[in-house]
């Protein structure tokens, strides 16, 4: 009852090797940027982030009764990003998810990349992006945006989890998507209520903590676009895919990404087999590593590109 605010902690064995490795590659790429960005801040930031990670860990246990024995919890990604900034928020969530997986077996190790991405990186990006768009406006608007960000962050995590399960050939899209999104639409309301009232409490008692975070120091206006883009993606894809899952399967099929169940993503690397082993696991590992490397390189170049754009401006 204590450790699972939302059934998003994927255990080992539930994602295919390819999906796990690609998720790790994306997560590592984003985290290495986060580490670089945060290292520039003053040394006081590190103990603060550590205690804030413990805060999120502990805050996830605070629950309130909803109805019929169920209770609302906090996931905390949006809240962490709003009070600490997006990069620090991501690192804090990574530490929380890492310890939950490593120490408490809440979520697996090989799939931890996916768990960090779903619950830590997506949530922080959406939460901070939407909150940032209200910078300099009235407090009520800021709280409203934070609430919206909190709800969307939970939905984004649920959507990403469903898609990963589906790409792993474990779940049928027309069952898992409505089920996950339906449950998390309700869980997300709890997230919204707690996030908004916690922020309102901080605004009342220590407004300086939130105001010092404004300005470009913690994250530039680019986050607004990132947050808005992910939100739009969630808002458009969720109802579309729920009402018409065959459509999504067909799109994926047309893109050559998914032919049938879990064997599909390998079709990016056709005929990749080791002759003396046939089409066994070793070919799979090799294909997975190559796939992961391709993604990592792409992400690297995108990040580099963004950086040079920023320097020129």
């Amino acid at each position: 009852m204590y450790f699972s605010p939302a059934p998003l902690h994927i255990p080992d064995g539930f994602l295919s090797t390819i999906v796990s490795l690609i998720s790790w590659a994306i997560t590592i790429a984003i985290l290495s940027v986060a580490v670089k960005r945060t290292e520039k801040l003053d040394e006081k930031q590190v103990p603060l982030m550590g205690i804030m990670a413990a805060f999120i860990f502990a805050a996830q246990m605070i629950n309130f009764p909803v109805a019929g024995g169920t209770s609302g919890h906090l996931l905390g990604g949006a809240l962490a990003a709003i009070v600490l900034g997006p990069w620090a928020g991501m690192l804090v969530m990574t530490a929380v998810i890492g310890v939950q997986g490593l120490l408490l077996q809440d979520g697996g190790l090989l799939v931890m990349g996916a768990n960090i991405f779903n619950m830590g990186l997506l949530t922080a990006a959406i939460g901070f992006g939407l909150y940032k768009s209200g910078e300099g406006r009235k407090r009520t608007l800021k709280l409203g945006l934070a609430g919206l960000g909190a709800w969307l962050s939970v939905m984004a995590g649920a959507l990403a989890t469903s898609l990963q399960l589906w790409l792993s050939g474990i779940a049928r899209l027309d069952i898992v998507l409505p089920a996950m999104l339906g449950v998390h639409a309700v869980i997300g309301i709890g997230e919204t209520l707690i996030t908004v009232s916690a922020l309102a409490f901080i605004f009342r008692t220590r407004p300086d903590l939130l105001e010092q975070a404004e300005g470009p120091a913690r994250g530039g206006r680019g986050w607004i676009f990132i947050g808005a883009a992910i939100s739009l993606f969630v808002l458009i894809l969720s109802p579309l895919a729920s009402s018409n899952p065959d459509g999504l399967e067909r799109v994926a099929g047309d893109l050559g990404f998914l032919a049938q169940g879990k064997d599909a993503p390998f079709s990016i690397l056709p005929d990749y087999t080791l002759p003396f082993l046939g089409e066994g696991a070793f070919s799979t590992i090799a294909a997975g590593i190559i796939g992961a490397m391709v993604v990592a390189i792409l992400v690297f170049f995108v990040v580099q590109g963004l950086r040079t754009v920023k320097k020129n401006v």
């Binding site: 059934p7 255990p11 080992d12 413990a54 246990m61 697996g108 049928r172 027309d174 916690a198």
Partner: protein, 265 residues
């Protein structure tokens, strides 16, 4: 209540306990990787993997069924895999109708479902064994040896150090809420949903402020003791020759298992 409920380490003096922590982390990950690569329905290879776990249990002197007893925690997520039962084409075993959904249970689906459960269950057991035989601070130090960024390792170390402190804080906050929330017999307790959620939100806000102020005090206390930006340990965990040998052996055994599984299957 003191929340040392998070400690999973069980002290004993065994060869497994004495291994360098980074070796254990690498072997655990290799093992989980190997589970993920075993083909669906290869019960013999799954059985061999489980036998290895039982053997490791015995070697670490925890009793042969220790990880088995603790391994049932991951089961709730199995619900997510239930749809695997209906997602593969194969010989039809049964058909159910659920509203407009037609659920066709196939033999391939059943095999996929059982394989997922077994893989997940084996992987959880090795993770349980890892934290039962390694002190968590050593495990954190192992992450540094495995080239995780120093800053992230430090954040994790702080999280581990203070999670029980802040959990105690949460338990106090919850006890206070309970004490304030008396319910008369026959009457509904508490206000509306929004009201209850606001109370929880205020508790989170309160916890945030207490944590923030605590981090200030901790930072200054550490600074006055010579903190220079990263944590030190007296236990260096340098790799010994037999640590390398153990890693090589584990790698060979897992490669052999994979070869066996993929050539006979």
């Amino acid at each position: 209540m003191h929340s040392n409920i998070f400690d999973r380490y069980l002290h004993s003096d065994s060869s497994i306990h004495r291994l360098a922590p980074q070796v254990k982390v690498v072997i655990a990950i290799l093992f989980i990787f190997s589970n993920a690569l075993l083909p669906d329905g290869d019960w013999l290879s799954f059985g061999i993997s489980w036998a290895v776990i039982l053997l490791l249990n015995l070697l670490s002197r925890l009793g042969w069924a220790y990880t088995l007893k603790r391994s049932l925690i991951a089961l709730p997520f199995a619900l997510a895999a239930i749809t695997a039962l209906f997602s593969l084409p194969g010989k039809t075993l049964a058909i159910w109708h659920l509203g407009s959904l037609e659920l066709i249970l196939t033999d391939a689906g059943l095999m996929r479902f059982l394989s997922i459960i077994v893989r997940s269950w084996l992987s959880v057991q090795i993770a349980i064994l890892l934290v039962a035989t390694t002190k968590f601070p050593d495990l954190i130090h192992a992450l540094e040896h495995l080239r995780l960024p120093k800053m992230l390792v430090t954040v994790i170390a702080f999280l581990y150090r203070y999670m029980s402190v802040l959990t105690d804080e949460v338990i106090r906050l919850m006890r206070a809420r309970q004490a304030r929330s008396a319910v008369l017999p026959g009457q509904r307790g508490g206000g509306s949903l929004i009201w209850r959620a606001r109370t929880a939100g205020n508790m989170v806000g309160q916890l945030f402020l207490r944590s923030y102020e605590r981090s200030d005090r901790i930072y200054h206390a550490m600074l006055s003791r010579g903190y220079s930006g990263h944590l030190r340990t007296l236990n260096q965990h340098e790799m010994q020759i037999n640590d390398w040998l153990i890693i090589a052996l584990a790698f060979l055994l897992i490669a052999a298992l994979q070869l066996f599984a993929h050539t006979t299957g």
